[in-house]
Structure formats: structure tokens, C-alpha cells
């Protein structure tokens, strides 16, 4: 694949029209105010039949799980037979939304991809029905909580949240921070270390995954943080003090660390998440480039357009190079998925590291190219620059991507 197909372009153009009509008029409230993005995401889902598609997919996944866990996960099945290009249909809306509001994608991706994804993968059929469907359709908002004040990059090892057995139930304690959708989530996927009273060092204890409901006694969801950017994605803290849950809230209803549960489940999300960040970077870079080219043509100084200056041309050329490279990486991911293959963790990390850095650099250079206007909200590149920075921090920091790439190279 070297360009979008006719059909993919039709999806892109339709999404574009929707964004111009339904998102752009609200950018001020989303990015400079406190409007939560959920109603807009729901409208997107309803408009394009994404809610119905989610219901159809849910039924297939549920049936397969019920048929006993010969249950192939959607990822496994895609690995066997290819996804028929479905990856593109998920990525195109991501690319397009990131021309304006990467935060909307973050809020949506965490709810549908991480929270619902984990429940669908690890949950029992009853748990899938109880929490999975409403999250997949965006009727409810989900959060996925692993990071803690004292452990982000080292989330699994350094995790301090605990789950203590009490008869048939568990008592959960701990704090989570930087949690996307934390302030508004109806359903929270919560990771904690099993405290079974043994003297296993805390780093080595089992990681269990629980599902929490908004309003449970002992569960507090903070207000949204004030942050550098990504305002259209609310981020907050969670406080658990003696939250009592039955086994029905433990995903899979077992403490056994099966393939795909606990630690594995957190890691299993890495590839999808990192490919997603590359698609987000692509949208943001495309927009910065488009705005910069237009400005370089229009802005006249000393009787000449600034685009005629070589220092400005260098900026545009570098932006175009970044766009080409990131687009090729995204296309490669789509092609691999269609062929029933998947990026290795190291490849996904390389893709994420490159795309995130490219997005940040392109956006900061766009601010520079716009001069004083670049620093003003009206010209939009300042928002994109603030938003791009987070691509280098979440879904694994740049430094962590480096360790994943290097580990793979050195262990070959």
C-alpha cells in the first residue's frame, strides 16, 4: 500500500465533513475550556454506525468466548487470516481527528481500546456482558488504571496498589494517577498486586485486574488535572480506600495468571497502542504541514512571501519528510495487519518513538514559522505543539521505547 484506496478516501472525506461540522465549532470549549468530549464521540459513533458495528462485533466475541476458551482473540484470528484491511478503518478516524483534537482520540482510545479491550480479552462472558458492550459502544466511559504516583515507566514492578483477600471478597487499596477519563469514568479497569499474606517480595507478586463501578464505597475520582495540553481528554487521579469487591469484579474470576491476564494483559496492549500513537502523529503532522504551507505562501515580509526564504523552506521540507516517513510506517502497520501479521514489540516501539518525536518537532517548527501568530491560540499550531508533547510521554516514554528496541536488538 502506497496510498489510501478509493474506499478509504471515501471514509476519510466523510469523517472530515463530520469533523468540520461537529468538532471544529467546539474547539474552543474542548481545548480552552472544560467541555468533556464524550457527547461528540457518541455522535461520531451514532453517525457512522460505529455503535452498531461494535454491537455486532461484541456478539461474535461473546459467542466465541462462550464456546469455551478455544476462544481465539480477535488479535489471534487476525494473525491467522488477516483483518481484510479493517485496521485502516480504525486508523483513518484517528488520523483525521488529530488534525484538530488529539485529546478526543485519547479519551476514545483509552475507553474503547484499553478499558473495553481488556475486559473483552480477560473477562468471563458475564463480565463481558456486564461491562464490555456499553464501553465498546461509548454508551459508558471507561478508564484503564495502571500508573501510580511512584511508578509509571516501572508500573508493573513498582505498583503499590493492593488486593487483599477477605473471605470470598477482596479489599482494594491504592492510588492511581494520570488516568485518562478518570474524572468521568463509569467503569474502571484497575490493576493491583495480590497481597496473600505470604512473604513474596512486592515486586514479584501477582498482578490482578479488577473492574470498578463509579460510586463504589471507598472509590474517589478526582477533578480533571490542569495540564500542558490535550485538554479535550480529561485526566485525573483515583483513590481507593478499602474498596470491597466480590470475585465477580476480578477479571476472569480467577487469580491464575493465564496467558493474556494480569502483567501479560498490560503488555498485550502495547503494540496496538503504539501503532495508534503513530496514526495520531500522522494527523497532527499533516495539519501542521498544511497550515505552515498556507502561511508560508501568504505571509509577506520585505515585499516577499516568507516561503521564498530558504530557512523557511528547510522547515517545510523537514515537515514533508516527517509526514512521508510516518505515513509509510502507518501504511506498513495496515499492510501487516491485512496480511495476518503484526509488528513486533520492538518495531512498534521504533514506530512510536520516531512518530512521537517527529510530531513534536514538526509542531514546534510550525509555531516558529508562524512567528508571534504561532504563539497565539487563534492560529492553532500552539495547541497542536502542546498536544504533540504527550506523544513522547504516554504509551511508554521515549526512553522506554529505546529500551524496548535495544533489548530486542541485543537479544537476537
Amino acid at each position: 500500500m502506497f496510498e489510501w484506496s478509493e474506499e478509504q478516501l471515501m471514509v476519510r472525506d466523510t469523517i472530515r465533513r463530520f469533523i468540520e461540522a461537529e468538532v471544529v465549532p467546539h474547539i474552543d470549549e474542548l481545548e480552552h475550556g472544560d467541555l468533556p468530549p464524550y457527547d461528540i464521540i457518541r455522535k461520531l459513533y451514532a453517525t457512522f454506525g460505529m455503535d452498531q458495528m461494535a454491537r455486532d462485533r461484541f456478539k461474535i466475541q461473546l459467542d466465541r468466548k462462550r464456546d469455551g476458551d478455544a476462544a481465539e482473540s480477535p488479535v489471534e484470528r487476525a494473525e491467522r487470516q488477516g483483518d481484510g484491511g479493517a485496521a485502516a478503518m480504525t486508523l483513518i478516524p484517528i488520523v483525521e481527528l488529530c488534525h484538530y483534537c488529539p485529546g478526543i482520540v485519547t479519551a476514545m482510545g483509552v475507553s474503547v481500546g484499553l478499558a473495553a479491550g481488556t475486559i473483552m480479552k480477560q473477562g468471563t462472558p458475564a463480565q463481558m456482558e456486564r461491562w464490555g458492550l456499553d464501553l465498546l459502544t461509548m454508551d459508558k466511559v471507561g478508564a484503564w488504571a495502571i500508573t501510580e504516583p511512584d511508578s509509571g515507566s516501572d508500573a508493573l514492578g513498582g505498583m503499590k496498589s493492593t488486593a487483599r483477600r477477605d473471605g470470598d471478597e477482596y479489599i482494594l487499596n491504592g492510588n492511581k494517577t494520570f488516568i485518562t477519563n478518570g474524572p468521568y469514568a463509569d467503569t474502571i479497569v484497575f490493576y493491583a498486586k495480590l497481597d496473600d499474606g505470604s512473604d513474596t517480595p512486592i515486586r514479584d507478586r501477582k498482578v490482578l485486574t479488577f473492574v470498578l463501578d463509579r460510586g463504589m464505597p471507598g472509590l474517589d475520582q478526582s477533578e480533571p488535572f490542569r495540564k500542558m495540553g490535550l485538554h479535550s481528554s480529561p485526566t485525573g487521579e483515583l483513590f481507593l480506600s478499602d474498596v470491597r469487591v466480590g470475585k465477580d469484579h476480578l477479571l476472569g474470576e480467577t487469580e491464575d495468571e493465564k496467558k493474556g491476564s494480569g502483567r501479560d494483559s498490560a503488555k498485550g496492549n502495547f503494540v496496538t497502542e503504539r501503532a495508534g500513537v503513530a496514526a495520531m502523529s500522522l494527523g497532527l503532522i499533516e495539519e501542521c504541514l498544511k497550515l505552515s504551507v498556507a502561511y508560508a505562501r501568504d505571509r509577506m515580509l520585505w515585499g516577499q512571501r516568507i516561503g521564498d526564504r530558504q530557512l523557511i523552506q528547510l522547515k517545510l521540507a523537514k515537515m514533508e519528510i516527517a509526514r512521508l516517513n510516518v505515513q509509510n510506517l502507518v501504511f506498513r502497520h495496515i499492510e501487516l495487519s491485512a496480511a495476518g501479521k503484526s509488528l513486533t514489540l520492538a518495531e512498534a516501539s521504533a514506530m512510536k518513538l520516531y512518530s512521537a518525536q517527529a510530531a513534536s518537532e514538526v509542531a514546534m517548527e510550525a509555531v516558529q514559522l508562524f512567528g508571534g501568530n504561532g504563539y497565539m491560540a487563534e492560529f492553532r499550531v500552539e495547541q497542536l505543539a502542546r498536544d504533540a508533547k504527550v506523544f513522547q510521554i504516554y504509551a511508554g516514554t521515549d526512553e522506554i521505547q529505546v529500551t524496548h528496541i535495544a533489548k530486542d536488538l541485543l537479544n537476537r
Binding site: 478509493e6 474506499e7 471515501m10 471514509v11 466523510t14 465533513r17 463530520f18 453517525t47 457512522f48 454506525g49 460505529m50 452498531q52 458495528m53 478503518m89
Partner: protein
């Protein structure tokens, strides 16, 4: 309830248009898109069929080069199938010729109702639909801002300068709709994916039994004799304030007799 919608595929109005210097016709060589004006007819048709609970929406389009991009958009919205008439001998066909071709194709679909836009975005003579109705011997109702089917009859609110007329007509009939009639839906992802496998029947004028002498440049009774650039808007006068600007503004307004 079977509805035919006439949909015109046109060059993207956002791109600068170009004319053939020999014939003064619009050049339609590149990708063609669904005329926005026709999205309303498609939506109206889908809603009427949905309400009737049976039947389907068929698109009819006359287009050069076998182009189907615009049709795919309307199919993605939910139309069931399309008839495309594309034939080299149609080059230079005028509005009446177009109406003859479309009428012959529509007849094959045996519709209960035919919808078209009030006027197209590129040619906008607004004459094709009524000529189709005349050729088919059907009643036509123009400028519809509301369309309902009540049993076997058609009820239309027809936009006028003063308000609207309530019109009733037996079916089959032809109706031209305005942009206010309904809000066109976005094609769903599923619709877009389904569109590529929906049938598009491509016909030549021979398939329709039309004689080549009636259409094309030979059959055309209209000819574009001259095209001239529209007058550039005169630039306004800039008043540089040298202390007397307010007086000059007042003078200007007095000249206009608004003061």
C-alpha cells in the same frame, strides 16, 4: 415503493473549473463527485422507502467516461443500485437530450416516484427534471420542501416566494426537491464498505434504443455561443486619515443619500 433519484456527477466545485475552448463546455475529464444538490433527493428517497417498509432506491445518472465515484457516495448512503448511462456519442448533449436519455433509463426501473434536485450545481438550468416528466407523460411538482406519500398519492409542500403551496398528485410522479427538504445523512462505514459491491448497470444509448442523432452535439438545440468572465468586483476606496477622514466619510454617505 420504488423511487428513482436522478443524480448528477460533477467536477468538484471546490477545484477551479475549466472550459473546453472549442465548445465552451465544462471539462469533465477528472474525478467526478456527487452533486451536493442531489444528496437531498437521495436522503428523501431513502426516508420514503424506509417509511413505506418496502421497495428500494435506484439511482440514474448520465456521465462521461463511465465515472462512478459520485454514485458510490449515494450507494454508500443506502441506495440499492444504480443505472449509469455513459456513451461517447453523448458528448455535447444539451438539457433536452439529457432528459431524453434519463427518461429512457428511468422507464426501465418502473418507479412509483422520481426525485431530482431543483437545479444542478454546475449547469443549473433547472430544466432537465420537468422535461423528463413531460417525456414520460407524468405530473411534475417542483421546489418541494416537504414530501409525503399518503396511500397511493403524493403530498408536497411547494416552496413559493410568499410561503408554500400544498400540492397533491397521483403517483407515479416526478418531484424536484430543494435543499431544505431533509438533512442528508453521512454514509456509515458499513455503507461505504457495502457500496463497492452494489450493482451499477452501465448502459449505452443503443441499449436504451435512442438514436444517436437525437443526442450529442448533433442533436443539441442549445449551443454555448459565448462565455465571458464575470465582472471583477470594483475595489473599495481607501480613505487615509489626514485629519479630514470623518468629513470624507460623511460626504460619501451624503452622496449615497443615506444621510
Amino acid at each position: 415503493m420504488n423511487v428513482v433519484v436522478c443524480v448528477k456527477q460533477i467536477p468538484d466545485p471546490a477545484a477551479p473549473p475549466s472550459l473546453d475552448p472549442g465548445t465552451n463546455n465544462l471539462i469533465r475529464a477528472g474525478k467526478l463527485i456527487l452533486d451536493d444538490s442531489d444528496a437531498y433527493g437521495v436522503e428523501m428517497a431513502l426516508q420514503l422507502v424506509d417509511k413505506a417498509g418496502e421497495g428500494e432506491v435506484t439511482l440514474v445518472s448520465m456521465t462521461p467516461n463511465g465515472e462512478t465515484s459520485g454514485l458510490r457516495t449515494a450507494l454508500a448512503m443506502g441506495a440499492a443500485k444504480a443505472i449509469l448511462i455513459s456513451d461517447d456519442s453523448l458528448a455535447g448533449t444539451d438539457a433536452l437530450g439529457t432528459a431524453k436519455v434519463l427518461a429512457a433509463a428511468i422507464k426501465r426501473a418502473e418507479p412509483d416516484l422520481i426525485l431530482a434536485a431543483t437545479e444542478s450545481t454546475d449547469g443549473y438550468t433547472g430544466t432537465t427534471p420537468v422535461q423528463i416528466a413531460e417525456i414520460l407523460g407524468l405530473p411534475s411538482v417542483t421546489f418541494a420542501k416537504k414530501v409525503e406519500i399518503d396511500g397511493g398519492s403524493l403530498k408536497v409542500e411547494r416552496q413559493t416566494e410568499a410561503g408554500y403551496d400544498e400540492v397533491e398528485s397521483p403517483l407515479p410522479a416526478l418531484v424536484t426537491v430543494t435543499a431544505g427538504v431533509v438533512e442528508p445523512r453521512y454514509p456509515s462505514f458499513k455503507g461505504i464498505m457495502a457500496a463497492k459491491s452494489k450493482p451499477v448497470e452501465t448502459l449505452t444509448i443503443a441499449d436504451l434504443g435512442i438514436d444517436a442523432g437525437q443526442v450529442g452535439a448533433i442533436g443539441a438545440r442549445q449551443e454555448i455561443t459565448d462565455v465571458s468572465a464575470s465582472e471583477e468586483r470594483a475595489s473599495g476606496e481607501i480613505v487615509v486619515d489626514e485629519g479630514d477622514a470623518h468629513q470624507r466619510v460623511i460626504q460619501f454617505l451624503e452622496q449615497l443619500k443615506v444621510l
